[in-house]
Amino acid sequence: MAKAYTPGLKVAARTTHRARRLLPISGEVRVAVGDVVAAKDVVAETFMDGDITPMNMANRLSCPAGDVAGLMLKQIGEAVEKGEPIARSKGIFGAFKTEVPSDATGTIEQVSSVTGQVMVRGAAIPVQVRAYLSGKVVEVLPKEGCIIENDVMFVQGIFGIGGETEGVIHVACSSHEETLEADAITPEMKGAVVLGGARMTAAALRKAIEVGAAAVVSGGLDDQDLKELLGRDLGVAITGSEQIGITVIVTEGFGDIAMAERTWRLLADRAGRTASVNGATQIRAGVMRPEILVPLEPGENENEVDPTLAKEAGMLDLGTTVRVIRDPYFGLLGEVASLPAEPAVLGSGSRARVLEVRFPDGATAVVPRANVELIEG
């Protein structure tokens, strides 16, 4: 059979998307099934135990650990302020008593008679989960969170940094092949999701941060520029918690590479619309890719079919559009010209299953099947 399975990134003009919005620990869910929520609405919240501050009280009172409990001015469960005396030594013949102030504001949680440690627990830390995607609540997971559903235009990127944000799409490049330079970034892009084209330069990203853009989406990025932006060499692709003042999404890969034309066109056509964007990427078991979601109006893009439903997702077939994802043809798009069943010997000397790709200029190349991905949709 001239078919093979190769996963690809999803780019869909219209798809029904479900966002799971969960608390890290159990808490209260603030919405009910059927509620319509906006991206910024809080859907669930809870409180995490406050930070613990240990105090070596036996040392500070110069007494045995077993005596600490008897010298406490504040007892377990009592609230204390930072600097407030919480224990007092017996002193010598009632004089020269030493008072020990609390190192933190909170509640006395524990007084150990074995080690003489006193634990002060700080105020509980509120944790809120926002809707992120505007839409309808279709399921509530009691004490955990909810699931929000909406019809969206959905674009998966290959790599991102920075977490969830939202903004109005603002087109900065005139085509999918144009490099995003700093002079394309303007003050009007404050709070916007900036759409570039091919590679985004470090100067463009710095300018985007300077004007206060919410996110930048473009085809490629130089690793050297990423290093400069983060201030360190990124070792492992687990991202999302960076605090650099912007969310960045690379749709294709590292280096000089144009965004896939269809992806660019879909996003550019939605200029002025609000998009939910998340740069979080995790490339391990349970892979997570960055995403751009644009909620659609009823009827919009209705004739577009969800590619995951249109055919067997991930099936490589003759004529399927693929992108080569490794050198020496990295980034080139083409279509599958043949799928030989027998493994072939590569230039590296390895034997592997291959396919033949025909590029738009008519040239063909044989590449390992592992080195292509489907352009889904």
Partner: protein
């Protein structure tokens, strides 16, 4: 004919057909082992994607798929109509197997946090116990780890371990510090990965006098977070001079099965199917390596380099150690290897022109698309250069960890006055290493075995005589569990089917000047050859697989090949596809500082081994 899986009847004499699986993060690998003409052999293998994650969320689906492949290849029916694995009731049954065993590293394996009072002593012992059991150690908390208590608590809160191993204090010694440590861990309430009402398992293996207090600290009443499940075992450091890791390791395995595995999708079923407890994959690899070292009376090192991590196992004079270098790997972590080693260090192994900016982007592209494979010769050369550095860094970490016990008072003589060793020295000794076993994609799937051999030599720098081998199809995990049930079967398969001997490395320890004499050699037996090597030379003498040769080597003054500096030695060397590799490049292995000289040295190495011969190099270095 067949029957449902029943309680294990593990009479070794009745075990003739064995099915074993290893449920990895991405692939479940099944093998069949059968007794053929009185000897155990691995006969068939099958594999299928692991099904721990959605949409299947049941590990047994992948197990059944992989075993079904065995069934199709062998013609022996192994899967019953109800989807379970068939066991034979009689030795004459044509269908089914006698035992089924499994290892698992799916779902991220076993992730632990370890705490001990003194970082170099009890905490180090606790880490050894956890690693030896096959865990990934997320962090080691110690009273003297230079973090302030609130920083330690914050760290504990951030981690989501499967379990915590707490140690500290020698038996009968001061118990205050270990209780203090427990008092940090308990209120921090580390949240287990499985969330909800899962009770976080805590294993206490410290001062026996502190047990009552430890129980008090971890008894949490009315706690919505689920609280703790405390197990108490013998102290893993009963005295400073003694390490007793067995009980803690066993307890880790029990807790792994009872708590961690039981929460992973489908494992409740899998636990019922197996005839021996499911082991964490690296724990099983460690077991087989120890069995080999013990039965053959050798020192051995094993390495498994994966996409995300590199595991190193060693057995020296019966002492086993394992380390996991969590962010040294060839796909997910390749960028980290480049960051840690530095691009200069990687490119020193490359004999072709390569452009750094382009390479940096290629490395990141491999990281974000980890399943791609090198297509061009240049990409292969670069990937193998990265592998050398990943392996070198992982082995360095291993050597620093595998030490004699620290904190032990030593009797010192006048002769020791000039010695700088203060205890805690590495027990890993390149000169006494007999066997170096490689596994993991970049090593086992290298297009040529010479490439695998040279990656091992450049990264591990073995000294004297060392047999180089690779695990043919990553069978060591299966054999590790099997060794706990049927040691003879495990050993026979290991030697006949698992291990592929690449050849033997004979390397001189010492430093010299390029071109000056290093050692001479004379070979007889399977191959006859003789010659002299100058410092910096690398010579390969072909010797076929299954053949051996007597090799007499005579080092020049200042060089050692196992019998002391300048003293000749004769040993038997095993042949293989990489032959006998005579290495006079010195130990430590240092390449010339000057870029032109270095390029020449690496080119000579590439040419003398022929490892990249006939590969097409694109003119643009693409």
């Amino acid at each position: 004919m067949h029957s449902e899986p029943e309680p294990p009847a593990l009479d070794p004499d009745r075990i003739k057909v064995i099915v074993a699986t290893d449920c990895g993060s991405t692939t479940t690998k099944a093998i069949m082992i059968e007794e053929v003409d009185g000897a155990y052999r691995q006969t068939f293998r099958g594999e299928a994607p692991t099904t721990v994650e959605e949409p299947f969320a049941d590990v047994t689906v992948g197990v059944v798929n992989s075993v079904t492949e065995l069934q199709e290849l062998s013609g022996r029916r192994l899967i019953a109509d109800d989807g379970t694995i068939i066991r034979r009731t009689s030795i004459d049954d044509a269908d089914g197997c006698d035992i089924y065993i499994s290892t698992s590293s799916a779902g991220g394996g076993l992730q632990m946090m370890v705490a001990g009072v003194v970082r170099e002593m009890t905490a180090a012992s606790a880490k050894r116990a956890a690693l030896g059991a096959g865990a990934i150690v997320m962090d080691v908390i110690a009273s003297n780890d230079k973090r302030r208590p609130h920083e330690q608590i914050q760290r504990i809160r951030e981690l989501r371990p499967d379990m915590v191993l707490l140690s500290g204090g020698t038996d009968g010694g001061n118990s205050t510090q270990v209780v203090q440590l427990a008092e940090l861990v308990a209120p921090a309430k580390p949240r287990p990965r499985f969330g909800g009402a899962y009770q976080l398992p805590i294993i206490f293996a410290g001062n026996s006098d502190a047990r009552t207090e430890i129980e008090r600290v971890f008894t949490v009443e009315d706690d919505a977070t689920g609280g703790f499940d405390l197990s108490v075992v013998e102290n893993l450091r009963p005295t400073l001079e003694q390490e007793n890791l067995g009980p803690a390791r066993d307890c880790i395995h029990d807790v792994f099965l009872e708590h961690v595995m039981a929460h992973a999708p489908g494992y409740d079923k899998l636990i019922d199917w197996t005839n021996a407890p499911i082991m964490p994959t690296p724990g099983a690899v460690g077991d087989i390596l120890q069995t080999i070292a013990r039965t053959q009376g050798i020192n051995a090192v094993g390495v498994d380099i994966g996409g995300a991590t590199t595991d190193v196992f060693s057995v020296f004079d019966g002492t086993f150690n394992r380390t996991v270098s969590a962010n040294l790997g060839m796909s997910y972590s390749i960028s980290n290897v480049c960051a840690e080693a530095g691009m200069d260090q990687i490119l020193r192994w490359v004999h072709l022109d390569m452009e750094e900016r382009e390479l940096r982007n290629r490395v990141k592209n491999k990281m974000i698309r980890p399943t791609t494979i090198p297509q061009s010769a240049e990409a292969l050369v670069f990937e193998q250069a990265v592998a050398r550095e990943a392996l070198r860094l992982a082995y360095q970490q291993h050597k620093e960890f595998a030490t004699t016990l620290k904190g032990v008072q030593q009797q010192r003589t006048v002769g020791d006055v000039f010695s700088q060793e203060v205890g805690g020295s590495s027990i890993v000794d390149g000169m006494t290493l007999d066997l170096l076993v490689a596994s993991g994609g970049v090593l086992s799937h290298a297009p040529r075995m010479q490439q695998t051999a040279m990656m091992l030599i450049d990264a591990f720098e073995p000294e004297g005589f060392t047999t180089l081998a690779k695990d043919s199809i990553f069978m060591m995990p299966h054999l590790g569990v099997l060794s706990s049930v049927h040691e003879r079967a495990a050993m026979e398969v290991f030697e006949k089917d698992c291990l592929v001997v690449l050849g033997t490395c004979i390397a001189a320890k010492g430093q010299g000047k390029p071109g000056k004499p290093c050692f001479s050699y004379r070979m007889s037996g399977g191959s006859t050859a003789s010659g002299d090597l100058a410092y910096g030379d690398l010579v390969v003498v072909p010797l076929a697989a299954e053949e051996t040769a007597e090799v007499e080597v005579t080092p020049a003054r200042g060089f050692d090949l196992g019998n002391g500096p300048g003293k000749p030695i004769t040993r038997t060397a095993k042949g293989g596809p990489a032959g006998i590799i005579l290495d006079a490049r010195g130990r430590r292995l240092e390449l010339p500082e000057d870029p032109v000289e270095r390029r020449q040295a690496v080119t000579r190495m590439v040419e003398s081994t022929g490892m990249y011969d006939d590969l097409e190099v694109a003119p643009n270095g693409a």
